[in-house]
């Protein structure tokens, strides 16, 4: 798909996420907006998937390890055709399926793991990547982590095992928006140098602009490295990306947009004709 088209989809998704947050009072808007471009590049360009066969054994897998980005993932999965977009009308309703975090794979097509507690997605993804080797399948696994999530020891346990096992069908993308729930991620726990940490753990690591669709597409379609290393992509992002008054303002981790804010956000995204 052309880059422009991918960018259009990303803007449309951003608009829908903000509308849903406004309507249903769903938080984590900043975290959702920072990973939209990554999700669009993954689902509309990289993954070898057929939404009509969500359980195809040889499909590529994507795990939203930063489960609090579910509001973004739900929109992407609907637009990609895993379920009708109209299903999202019931977002946040009592008795519904769309919560603030992804449900289990048995409860919604397209979901590969029930995340929400941080530090779980990478170990699960590693198990899936090793399963491909055991079952002689060719699928790849991508796990999207937040920078705050890299606080969790289980992330680094998985990183070491993946390197030891030379798991070359596993990719981590870190949505590095420099914030976690209550402050700057660099100040809360020493995260820097993040790309060097992944390299030191035996990964083939690189840094990109996580909002540059061209860079995302390129890194997501890179050939496997010859050393059998897992790949870590440190995607520099901006929390709240796409709406000037939300960008890099951590209040939008929990804040809900008002009617006026919704309208100006949509204007900025070019969604109001």
């Amino acid at each position: 798909m052309e880059l422009e088209k991918l960018q259009e989809i990303a803007s449309e998704i951003r608009g829908r996420i903000i509308s849903t947050s406004h309507k249903t009072k769903t938080p984590h808007l900043g975290s959702c907006l920072s990973c939209v471009d990554i999700l669009v590049a993954v689902y509309f360009h990289s993954l070898r998937i057929d939404p009509k066969k969500p359980r195809d054994p040889d499909r590529d897998r994507f795990i939203l390890s930063k489960g609090h980005g579910a509001a973004a993932l739900f929109q992407v999965l609907a637009m990609r055709g895993f379920y009708p977009e109209s299903m999202l009308d019931s977002y946040g309703e009592d008795g519904g399926i769309f919560a603030e975090h992804p449900p289990t794979p048995d409860h919604l097509a397209g979901i590969e793991a029930a995340t929400g507690s941080l530090g779980h997605g990478l170990p699960i993804g590693l198990g899936m990547a090793l399963s491909a080797r055991i079952q002689k399948q060719s699928y790849k696994v991508i796990a999207l982590l937040s920078d705050g999530e890299c606080n969790e020891g289980s992330v680094w346990e998985a990183a070491m095992m993946a390197a030891a096992q030379k798991v070359d069908n596993l990719m981590v993308v870190v949505d590095f928006n420099k914030w976690q729930a209550t402050g700057r991620s660099e100040e809360i726990l020493a995260l820097a140098p993040l790309v060097d940490k992944w390299r030191a753990f035996g990964w083939d690591a690189c840094e990109i602009n996580g909002h540059d669709m061209g860079q995302l597409v390129e890194v997501l379609t890179k050939e496997k490295n010859s050393e059998g290393k897992p790949v870590a992509v440190i995607a520099h992002t901006v929390k709240g990306k796409g709406v000037s008054f939300m960008e890099d303002d951590n209040n939008w981790h929990y804040r809900i947009p008002s009617e006026e804010e919704l309208v100006s956000a949509h204007k900025e995204l070019g969604l109001v004709k």
Partner: protein, 310 residues
Amino acid sequence: MRNAFADEATKLSSEDSRIVLLSGDIGNKLFDKFKGQNGRRFFNCGVAEANMMGVAAGMALSGLRPIIYTITPFTTTRCYEQIRVDACYQNVPVTIVGTGSGLSYADLGPTHHSCEDLAIMRVLPNMTVLAPADEVELRQCLRAALQQKGPVYIRIGKKGEAVTPKKDDHFEIGRSITVQEGSDVCLISTGILLPIVVKAAEMLSSQGVNARVESFHTVKPLDEETIKNVFADYPVVAVVEEHNKIGGLAGSIAEWLARQPPMKGRLISFGTDDEFMHEVGSQSYARKKYGLTEENISRQVLDAYKHISI
């Protein structure tokens, strides 16, 4: 028991290509045969149990049948959240094996004791909890666990546990095995204390009290049919487990009793106290400290039986 586990896991893995064994850097040479036969399906996950549990769940989500194995506290309390979310919430077939359960590693100190595992595992939705008495039950438990659709926890001992001959050896998850019939009292054993419970029954017999003995290899789902029958038939029902008196099989039965109309049987329980054992000691020393001996069990059951009979 751990040798039987390694042997049975090896056999089963050759019958079923979905079986994968994950070990937490334990069992030096124990799994050589498994590795020799199915090396591609053995992973030493290192001393990183949270990851090991998540990896197992990822494998189960991909159609495999992983077994994870290490010392009980590290395969339960250490990675409890991964068990709760990755295995139980997603309801995937991961078999979690804890070796050296209860007081098997008494001499290693409380970091290696596990007298809480039955409590914390049985409270998890979707989890099946098994505590085989000996290697025969262990092999049966493992085989059955690998046929389950959801997660299973198996607590096992260490090595050299005696095999108890049983009146009936039909195995089914959720159905206790009658070791011997008896008309006066009922002794329920779960896990590796069964030989002591059988000896307690012998001591009772020499006092003229005829004890039925049941081996509850399944803690969850609770065998309510057997429980209902024994509480209707016997004035004293004693539950014996190498586990805290809080939250184990006795706790489970007490919860069940609270939901029933008054029944004939009185429940008495034998287990460890609500404390960490600070002094050094062997497993038999620790059992004696907590009254998990044939002498204490038979004496207390006899007292209770006499009290009720008068």
